[in-house]
Symmetry: C2
Subunit: 369 residues, 2 copies
């Protein structure tokens, strides 16, 4: 045993407060979050279903060690029959499989000016998977939801501190959303058991809503008779203009489209190079508010309509393509989606205090030579 005193790291820098917008440089805290949470490389837009390991991951706290502990799902609260279910029992219930595009509500945050301090996503916090499990509505029917129920609260096994509040990650859904036939308690992802980081053994998947709704490592479902006031519902994930604004809750995914950057990248800048001639621009578009009805591709400021393919499901992304004949020079490419509600991606940033749902159009710089 050695006894050597090491220097403790001097802490001359004031630790910035999460959530506060800044015009300053990226902080070590943001880099640390960026290293932990991972996004989908843009070239993975080529896959209908995102291969395991490329789907985005946002872990609020730690990935819990759910593989080595006994596990049961508790269903209780305002129901006729509270129950506790094993994974084996859940797997005996009727199952559905649905393709769903999930996106983090914070996607696009790092591009905001000023920049709210939180997970600094660029544009790739997205992925599409095929989720298999029991419809939530089936289990709620089994439990018998009482008339006075207004919401259903979902609590995961992941625990931590946020905004000074110690908490297990928990979110709620209004009863009408919880009873949708396509909301699933998933135990399989792309045909295999859930990986630990995606919520093993069980997670909620709410098609069309931003990812924070789809609670991972699900332990408890509680039907409640008053709106849930937990941290992740009442304080986080709200569209606010200022810190004091009560705001409105974030729910469905806003229209977004992304392009696979054409050509080959520079290692550091990721700037693209390609030869002159024909190239098929392609990517994906999705919206939780309605079907994607159009994608326009911007080439040096001129917008051209892309061709859309039929998506594999109502809440899965659809592929778009646009043939382009690249002429020598520097080009700026962009894409902009529209959905059935008429919503169009904005050309300028969509700013709010927490940096949520910034669905600004993507720009790709390319040199043709």
């Amino acid at each position: 045993m050695t006894k050597q005193i090491y220097r403790q790291r001097p802490s001359t820098r004031a630790v910035p407060q999460a959530g506060e917008p800044t015009s300053g440089p990226l902080t070590p805290e943001e880099l640390q979050l960026s290293a932990r949470n991972h996004s989908m490389p843009l070239e993975a837009l080529r896959y209908d279903v995102t291969p395991p390991g490329m789907h985005y991951i946002l872990t609020h706290f730690d990935i819990p060690d759910t593989g080595t502990r006994p596990w049961h799902l508790r269903i209780g609260g305002a129901v006729e029959r509270a129950m506790e279910l094993s994974l084996a029992a859940l797997k005996k219930d009727p199952a559905i499989t649905i393709p769903v595009t999930l996106e983090c509500a914070g996607n696009g945050r790092s591009l905001l000016k000023p920049r709210p301090l939180s997970q600094p996503w660029v544009l790739e916090a997205v992925g599409t998977a095929e989720w298999t499990g029991v419809p939530l509505a089936y289990l709620l029917a089994k439990a018998g939801v009482l008339d006075e129920a207004v919401e259903v609260v979902f609590t995961g096994a992941d625990e931590g501190i946020q905004g000074g509040v110690r908490q297990k990650y928990a979110r709620s859904l209004p009863i009408r959303e919880a009873l949708r036939p396509d909301v699933v308690l998933a135990y399989r992802m792309n045909g295999a058991d859930l990986p630990p980081q995606h919520g093993y053994p069980l997670r909620l998947v709410v098609p069309g809503w931003y990812g924070m709704t789809s609670v991972k490592w699900l332990e408890s479902i509680e039907v409640v008779t008053a709106p849930f006031t937990g941290f992740q519902q009442h304080l986080a994930y709200r569209y606010q203009d200022t810190a004091d604004d009560a705001g409105t809750p974030v729910s469905r995914i806003r229209i977004r489209s992304l392009m696979i950057p054409p050509g080959i990248p520079d290692f550091f800048t990721r700037r693209r190079s390609l030869p002159p001639g024909p190239v098929l621009l392609h990517g994906r578009a999705w919206s939780g508010e309605g079907a994607v009805t159009g994608v326009e591709v911007g080439i040096d400021g001129e917008w051209l309509p892309a061709q859309l393919e039929k998506p594999p499901g109502p809440f899965a992304w659809c592929k778009w393509t646009l043939p382009w004949v690249a002429d020598p020079g520097e080009h700026v490419l962009a894409c902009r989606g529209t959905d059935a509600t008429g919503a169009v991606q904005p050309l300028e940033q969509n700013w709010n205090y927490q940096g949520l749902s910034n669905n600004v159009v993507q720009h790709v710089n390319a040199i043709v030579e």
Copy 2:
């Protein structure tokens, strides 16, 4: 078709040059790389074998679309019998499975002061997998290496530009390393086909060497009679004091240990909280230069020897544990490994111009209350 001119993003900032050390803030280019390349969350140190999707990934250029193209492995150069092999043919050759800890040579780079501009890893660019495939030595014996051979060059399908040089990613190995019985051409990872991001359909795995050696998306193996001078060998991955220093090549993984941060995290700062009382500190240690012979755990500057478990293979990490009785207050925890060569992790940063092999000890701040 709409015709609306969008504003091109003004580019007032000079793009920094990759590789140049800076004392300035994190750049958007670094954040972009951090979003693309992903590290292993520290809590994944709990697994002997890293679950798919949590193993670190460094993609130099783009993940190539190898799943939809015909593929053959070419073996040529200074051999008696050049050959071209299909995946089906390779799978008929004798296979081995070995557990290997791979680490990126740039791990720890973002902690350096000044900080070389490149992928800004914190400390988690590591992972352990079981790789299955054909020993390289078996194929080289089949091809018949000529006496004048000095190195073997491995070229992948991934293409891009680095340092102004257009290239397919390529690295070489000295003949004596290429003929080691445990160097494998892997087509399976943890019992399944390689995921696209890990090199589908075939990659090299060189146990003990930093990850840049284990070329992914392998297309060509060429035996050469003079040292390879490709970009990734001759310019990148060298220990240099200055830009003008020719430097020495990076090869084997230096001793490193990491700890699973105990307790629960704060969302933004990742600072840990835990209750007073007994807690088992644990983590992993590895070295490519020799067996791990010791791990010391630092608790507020006092070093205590951890207990080591036998690793699953000579180039896979070993688990270490240390019981700790946490008393109330703020603590700084650390861990420091030693290997059979006598190498010990440094307490201060290990700086070089490209920011490689910074195996400085990890520090974890924890509040016990």
